[in-house]
Symmetry: D3
Subunit: 196 residues, 6 copies
């Protein structure tokens, strides 16, 4: 049936984009070997694009008590709760790479409680899911539980902040019907591919 | 019982903040007569603060087919669905001022279907609520319905984008237990106050 | 768009009502300065009107271990759970007056867990919400918890009874699309107004 | 394990009750052959008892476009939605008697859509269930649908009013853990018993 | 309106069925005095019929730490959660007979927590309901709780297995709109009938 | 942390199993190159094992208006709704192979409405999801909708029957904490592997 569109909205050509956005896209293309659709589809609105990725980077690249793999676990688990295909597939790929584990992304997307992760990581994801789905119930007991697993208050902000940011991201992806690049489905699944 | 804290996290003093953030805060204080707590509580993390307000402004200040009052209706209705006290109270105040209507904010926060707003605005809020609470179900029929009410595709992005952004905002407010300033509760309720 | 109707059903003129109902309405008008719409809209059915207010008075005016402000908290919190605009707005006003607190009604309507009320009052509202939304789960542990906060069994009947009565009231208001009087929105918000 | 109590609260002796309440109870005992537990358990609070049964009678005994069996169907269906054992069992018995149908009560309690009732009665119960479980969504379309089945606006008040009243009744029964009399389980099930 | 059909699908005549299925049906007819509709309606697909009853017998007839009445309690409680009229009515009858208790089936179908059963049986049903409605949350704590009530791991498999099998059965009954035989409604309710 | 167990229950050695079960397992091992864990974990109970696979085969191998890929779509979509990791991963692999499509399984597991499948297949999955999650609502309109997409009544039994059977299967997998074989995660994702 032909290639389905990657967004309900017009997708700008990379060469037509403002310099800073084009540079960011070329950088990720250089690194990944392709341009993830989130970049070109959100570039339809340059100001929102800039704020979106500034927010993303502030949370996902900062020094933190959470590893990069743990941050991606939060993305995948909460995107599973929100039924967001783009984020599950794209961040599932990133999670497999960071965790060097071909199975963990599918496990976390379906049911983190049975994933091959540590009790500390399960506590982290339980809290992230609460922020994602019924944040009104967050209370001091949640903070105490997380601190008993060794998380600092700043780590807890990171957990909740990532869950909150992807609440936005999942809704944008569903709004515009963002389609995952086919490449993501396989990344990190085959040891030789990852190594080669 | 003393004044309850406005955040679970440390609240920086305005004079200690980076210049750009301090300037923004002084500007809003100048305009509103007080500093809304969202500014000082989120300033605990300057990078996230900058991205948050850049995103906010990109959606709420842009030229749009939606009036400013309509944008605030989206904020209030979806914050009601998320049980976010800060956003209902603070943006309820802004909505009353923009709409010059002392009743509409409480109506929209509880049940937009019975609010004194137009059928077009009810269709707008129905879609915003869908993005806020079950965005996985957004489909082409929703776009057709909104276009039948005169919304363009760009207007629909605005509606969905605001609902998505406040999905983030509501979760951050609940995460840090952000407390509304007492001033917000009364703004826009008394005609003379609004006029004076 | 003109004044919207206050009910889906015919609203009787006060002078046409049976003596006892007219007397009650004139009494409340004398006290409040206006006739709350619940009186004239429910007067469409005199027998149900009489039973409704007899039940209301039996619960809300009796000697009780609950203060009048606490009883109104139960009304506002459970009406929030049922999305009943009339009861949130009208009883929110009464709550502000009884509690001499301009903020508590909005807090309790959105999320009683973050309201500026005592732990005892939070336990009271947690139970009221259980009766309002999933009474099938009420069990002996709930009674033990409430007694540990100093409530007697008769107090617990009061809490549950008020939640049950407003389950009826909220549904009637939604059935007939009862509209709150504009006066209620402001009552108890401005100290001077309350005092004057 | 001995006879379980019929209420969490003290149950008054009939001879100790106020005259009007005792008379009502003796009248129902005369008619039914036993005293349904709702009478003696609610008599713990005479004023609420009087208002409760005045409300009940105003709805259930008035001239109406609904038959008595139809009114009991509303009670049984909405009590099923609220998981109220007392009302399902006691009003199921009454429904079997009024409808002269030993099967309809169990059908309506579980799933009215597959009960052996008319399309008009299914529309009536669909609306009653909406009032019982999400009355905030009641709108003009519901009224139009019911009118297309021949219901007048006053009939619709009856439907919604009964659903609303038993929202109260179900919660009171669950609050006090009201136990159905064993007699109710069998009434109306055996043709000979009903006839004899 | 005539006798309603017992299935949305063609119902084979017993004499046209394969020998083994006909024999099974005649055996149950001999024992019960009538042919329960589940047999003739599912016989529309002989292979699925054979597997269905093989599975049923493997769970319901095996040696187990659960009595036959307890197994039927699981069926009735989980069928209540799934709103399956056929299974509530048919297995409610069987439960009354096995338990020699005319009241327990209606109690368990509506709210097992208030049924006249033992704490051990309530723990059993709490777990069965979890398997029936949100099995993803089953965890080691559930096993520990059940073992504290004296259940072995094999008993727990029985509980979960019965809940799982009737998840299938309830859905098939709702799919084909399977109608309970009128006989089931009365079985086990009248002591003399049971004895005679 | 070592290899996690594949079941909460003892897993029999293949050589200790009854002949018919051992033969079945060796057959699937021959075909797949490994023994899927569902076979050895369910073999803990031979009678239930036999009934389970007899039921499976009756539905999944019969002549049908549904292709084998379509039947696996039903398994994957409904297992997604039930959060069953084993079935999503194992049947996702089978679906990729049958559909010769490396992407469709992840799409269907998250949100079939946005999968690259035909409108007829989406109607099929919408009905399967209804049977899986709220079968009480299945009605004649559903049958009419499916027939308008070309499905026969027997096809509809297949759709509903598969959804019902995996309601059982998902619950058993969650009950015993059945773990997917690592091999499944990659099957059908790499064209060369599939071809080789």
């Amino acid at each position: 049936m032909g290639q389905p569109p990657i967004s309900r909205y017009p997708v700008p050509r990379v060469e037509d984009l403002p310099d800073d956005i084009r540079a960011r896209i070329l950088e990720v293309q250089e690194k990944a070997g392709f341009v993830p659709n989130v970049f070109v589809t959100l570039a339809h609105r340059p100001d929102e694009f800039r704020a979106f990725f500034a927010y993303h980077d502030a949370l996902m690249l900062r020094d933190s008590g959470l590893t990069k793999a743990e941050r991606e676990m939060i993305v995948v688990a909460t995107s599973g709760a929100n039924d967001c295909l783009y984020c599950i597939v794209a961040h599932g790929a990133i999670l497999r790479v960071y965790a060097k584990d071909p199975l963990v992304a599918d496990q976390v997307a379906v049911n983190y409680r049975k994933a091959d992760i540590s009790p500390r990581q399960k506590a982290m994801l339980a809290f992230a899911m609460k922020v994602a789905t019924h944040s009104v119930d967050v209370d001091d007991d949640d903070f105490a539980t997380l601190r008993s697993h060794g998380f600092t208050n700043e780590d807890i902000w990171d957990i909740g902040g990532i869950a909150a940011f992807f609440a936005l991201s999942n809704r944008m992806a569903n709004l515009i019907s963002m389609r995952p690049n086919p490449e993501f489905y396989l990344i990190g699944r085959v040891p030789k591919v990852a190594a080669g």
